[in-house]
Symmetry: C2
Subunit: 358 residues, 2 copies
C-alpha cells in the first residue's frame, strides 16, 4: 500500500527532538558522501491569478541509502510580494480550492523503488527548518546559553524555539516582531507550549541586548539583525539569506551554512514579474557573501570542522537553502511510524506503479 | 478532485497525432521563452536490491503557462547494466511490488497551484519520445520520404513508427534488431497496427540501404548507425546520444537536437556502482560532440533555423535528453480529456493540498 498522510498525521508522528536526531544522523551520511541531495530548482512563470503574482513550480530531491529512502518535495505556489510596513514580504497565496496551499512530499524506497507515501510538506517543512537551526545551535553555540532573542513571530518562529529548547537548557526568551498583536499572541502561546517565559518586547534591541543566542525567524526580505548588535560569545542564527546584515556575518569568528548549493536553479519564463518582485535589497546584499567558503552543517556535525573554539567567539549559522535530503531523512521516520500505527489513507501501490517500461 | 489515472487511461485519452500537435504548439512557446523546463536530475545511490544494481531518483519539471499546466515527472528506478550480445544494455528492473516499475507524472495548475492529476509515466514517456522524433522528421526530413529503416524492435521502436507515419506518407518499413524472434514479432505486430508492411531483415545494412529515413529506437549504449551507411538526402534519427556514431553526425549537413541541456544533473553517492555501469563507450564518444552548437527542435519548429535546404542534404535529429516540459504539454491534453470523459479515480484535492503554510 502507498500511504496518503495529512499534516495532522505528520504532527502526531514526529516531534522536534526526533526530527533533530534523524537529521543529525543523516547529515553524517551526507558529510561522508553516502547521502545525496539535488539542488532545489524553481520554475517561475506568469499566472492568470493576477498580473503581479507569479507561479512557481519548485522541487528538490534527496536520498539517504542508509535509511532506504529517497524523497522529492514539490511546491506549486502562487506568490505575491506586497510591502508590509517598511519591508517587502514574500507572500504565498492559498489559491488552491478551499483556500489551500500546495506542497507535497513523495517518499520512495531505495530497496525496490516503490512509492511509500505522499504527504503535504507544511508541518515537516517548518520542523526541518527549526531542526536545522537547532543543530546549528548544538554545534556552534556555547554549551551554557540560557537567553534567546527571537526576531519574528510567525509560523517559522515557533519551531525555531522548540528546536533550541531541544538542544540547550533555555531559561528566558524575548520576542520582537513589528506587529504588536502578533508578537503578544505568539509570546503567550509559546510560553504555554515551552513552559519557559517568552516576553514580547517593543524594539528589536530590547530582545537582542544580552541574549546568548539571536534567532532570526521572519519572512523579511531585508536585514533584521545588524552588526552593531553583536556581543561577545553570541550565536546568531538565520532561516534565510537576507535576515542577517552581511557586516554582521563578516564580524563573526565562525560562520556555518546549511549547504554550498547557495541558490536554487532558476528557470524564469518571459513575462514573469520576477526580478522586481522577489530580488529585494536584502537578497542582493546577502549575495555579496561567498557562502561556499563557509563550512556546512554536515561538515560541522561530522566533526570535519569545529563550530566554536571558546566561549568568547561570535558564531553565526545561516540556513541558506533547504534540501530535499531533509524530507527523506525525517520522512523515513514518519513513514515507519505511520505504518506501525496504521495511520493515513492506504491506496493500492499499483495505482502509482506500472507494468509499462518507464 | 485530483485524478489518479492509469497507463490504460492515458493510452485511451491521447493518440500520437494529438501528442505531436500538443508538443509542436508547446515548443513554439518554449522557443519564444514563454514556456520553460528544468534540466533532468539524477540522484544515484547503491541499493540493497543487489551489489551490481543502482538506485536512481530522477526528476524533471516543466511549465506551459499558455496551457495553464506545470508537470513534474519522477522516476524511482532499480537499474542494472548487463551485456546482451556484444553490447552493454541499460536495464530497468521492475522491482516494486507485483513486479512493477515506478515512474510518475504529477500535473499542477498554474492558475491556482492545485494538483490536477497523478499518473504513471510509461505510456506517455514513449509517446512523447516518438512524437519528438516525429517532429524531427517533420521539420528536417524531405517532404517525399517513403521508406523507413527502424533499428530496434523494443518498446521505443513502436512509437517511432507511429510518429513518422503521422507526419509523412510512409510506404515501406524495414526492421533490424539483433534478436530475430523479437524483430519478427515486432514486424508482424506493426504491419497490422500501421497497415504498412514492416519487413524483418537479417542485417542492419539490409534495413538501411536505400532508406529515406533511418530511425534508431534501441536501448543500446553503443553506436548502431555508422557514417559509411549515409546516402544523399537521408534523414537519420536517434532516441538517445550513443546510437549514432559521431562521424555520422559530423557528416550530416544539418543537425538538430532536442535540447541544449545535454546531460542530466548527476549527483552520485559514494559506493554507487555507477561509472563502470552506465558510462559505456558509446556515451563517451557521443560526448565528443558539442550538442549546444546544434539548433534545438523548438528553434526548428518556431522557424528560427531551417531544418533542410534541399533534397540532397543529409539531416540528423538527436533526441538527446527528455524534458519535463513534454509531460506538461501532453499532460494538459490528457487531463482535459479525462475530466470530460469522467475517467480515473477521483480523490479529494484536499488530500494533496494544505492549510499549513508550505
Amino acid at each position: 500500500m502507498t500511504l496518503i498522510l495529512s499534516n495532522d498525521d505528520v504532527e502526531k508522528l514526529l516531534i522536534m527532538p526526533e526530527c533533530i536526531e534523524a537529521l543529525e544522523d543523516a547529515y553524517v551520511e551526507m558529510a561522508e558522501g553516502r547521502g545525496i541531495t539535488r539542488q532545489r530548482s524553481d520554475c517561475i512563470t506568469p499566472t492568470s491569478y493576477s498580473d503581479e503574482a507569479i507561479y512557481g513550480l519548485k522541487s528538490m530531491d534527496g536520498v539517504v541509502p542508509k535509511l532506504g529512502v529517497g524523497a522529492i518535495r514539490i511546491n506549486s505556489d502562487i506568490v505575491t510580494n506586497p510591502m508590509i510596513g517598511n519591508t517587502r514580504r514574500r507572500v504565498k497565496v492559498p489559491a488552491a480550492p478551499n483556500d489551500r496551499y500546495v506542497g507535497l512530499v513523495l517518499l520512495f524506497s531505495t530497496h525496490n523503488g516503490e512509492p511509500l507515501a505522499i504527504f503535504p510538506d507544511g508541518v515537516l517543512q517548518r520542523m526541518r527548518v527549526g531542526a536545522t537551526n537547532g543543530l546549528g545551535v548544538k554545534y556552534m553555540a556555547r554549551e551554557n546559553v540560557e537567553t534567546v532573542a527571537i526576531l519574528g513571530s510567525g509560523w517559522q518562529a515557533e519551531t525555531q524555539l522548540t528546536a533550541i529548547c531541544a538542544v540547550r537548557k533555555i531559561k528566558a526568551i524575548r520576542c520582537f516582531s513589528p506587529n504588536r498583536e502578533n508578537r503578544e499572541a505568539f509570546s503567550t502561546r509559546m510560553t504555554e507550549l515551552l513552559g519557559i517565559e517568552v516576553k514580547s518586547v517593543e524594539q528589536p534591541e530590547d530582545a537582542v541586548k544580552g541574549a546568548d543566542v539571536v534567532m532570526c525567524g521572519s519572512n523579511s526580505l531585508d536585514p533584521i539583525f545588524f552588526a552593531r548588535w553583536i556581543e561577545p560569545g553570541m550565536h546568531i542564527s538565520s532561516i534565510k539569506k537576507p535576515e542577517i546584515e552581511p557586516a554582521a556575518v563578516r564580524a563573526a569568528h565562525k560562520v556555518g551554512v546549511h549547504t554550498h548549493d547557495t541558490s536554487p536553479i532558476l528557470v524564469v519564463a518571459k513575462g514573469a514579474n520576477f526580478r522586481e518582485n522577489t530580488k529585494g535589497a536584502g537578497w542582493n546584499s546577502a549575495n555579496q557573501l561567498d557562502f561556499t567558503k563557509f563550512p556546512t552543517l554536515p561538515e560541522l556535525i561530522a566533526g570535519h570542522v569545529k563550530g566554536r573554539d571558546n566561549d568568547e567567539e561570535v558564531t553565526c549559522f545561516l540556513n541558506n537553502l533547504g534540501m530535499g535530503y531533509q524530507f527523506a531523512a525525517a520522512g523515513s521516520v514518519i513513514y515507519k511510524r505511520a505504518v506501525e500505527q496504521g495511520m493515513g489513507h492506504s491506496l493500492p501501490t499499483d495505482w502509482f506503479t506500472e507494468t509499462v517500461h518507464p
